[in-house]
Symmetry: C2
Subunit: 190 residues, 2 copies
């Protein structure tokens, strides 16, 4: 979608208003009307661009945090994973991103189109960046050639999302480090 400079500024203002208001009153109470008023836009302007509150929240979160999860490559795969996952849990574990991202995932459970968009636009690119970093390390001989990279991804991210969405236990750096250690040193199950 191409915007005039004024259109782009308005779009940006609407997305900022979504995150601000969402942080203040929570997703459940958020309305398109209130967002439009905060942004100084008409509500039809908002509806013209976003079909639902969930779609607007997703755009707002992804647009305003797009550079937060870029992947480091210092040559040390364990250190880079640690840096990246620490940054991810700092984002997930704190406002404004954390509670609004949780609400977005909640909404996606009732809205398959939103779930698909979230996967395509956020989860899949994040996963692909991590897999690319793991592949590089494997090609450099830093990881075993037999390592199942998809499973490694799942073992690193699944437990964090389980805490985030289900048990709501804190997402700490220490927990990330335990997960990384279990992946790299094994869990000594037997």
């Amino acid at each position: 979608m191409t915007d005039s400079p004024r259109g782009a500024a308005r779009t940006e203002a609407i997305m900022r208003a979504t995150l601000e208001l969402g942080a203040e009153i929570g997703y459940a109470k958020l309305s398109i009307e209130a967002i439009a008023a905060r942004a100084g836009a008409g509500k039809h302007t908002v509806y013209r661009r976003w079909p639902s509150k969930g779609a607007l929240l997703m755009d707002s979160l992804l647009h305003l945090h797009r550079s937060s999860l870029d992947y480091p490559d210092t040559g040390d795969i364990v250190a880079d994973l640690r840096t990246q996952i620490h940054a991810a849990v700092d984002l997930l574990g704190n406002p404004p991103f954390g509670p609004l991202y949780r609400a977005l995932i909640g909404e996606a459970q009732h809205d398959p189109a939103l779930a698909e968009a979230l996967n395509e636009r956020f989860i899949a690119p994040q996963t692909e960046m991590t897999l690319a970093r793991l592949r590089t390390a494997r090609d450099q001989g830093l990881l075993s050639p037999s390592l199942d990279l998809d499973l490694a991804m799942a073992v690193l991210s699944g437990p964090l999302y389980f805490r985030f969405l289900i048990t709501r236990e804190p997402l700490t750096h220490e927990y990330v480090d335990r997960l990384l250690q279990s992946l790299f040193d094994g869990m000594g199950a037997r």
Copy 2:
């Protein structure tokens, strides 16, 4: 709460109607009015017992599936985990439980009281049963004394919930087996 036999039958009818209607039309379209009508009860009867649609759905799911996830103990810890987790993914991956449980978790992201109740009444008891089974195996010398049981639980369940709630990839027995193998044989990261 103590019920007369008639009260208990009515409660059961309301919970059955919730799951039936939920399976037919989906959680989003489900209303207390329609559930009451299907169960032949007044809607005030429903509201008197359940504060919200989410609370009613949770009771209905937990009551009607309460015996599905009992824990086997054949003496073979890997076989028992496999049996139990295969049963869990069969439940999660199929109607009526799967889509309604996904909707319940979605609702819990907007409703902290529901999230807490889900943890207390379903997640925590399930986790405790699995941990008890793992502890028995450890005490029998079948698992390493140094195994971090909480982390083992997280590595087994987190990736399944990640698929269930985020990527919506299929929950297959084959995937469960890969997770179990990674836990017991290590992932050979390096």
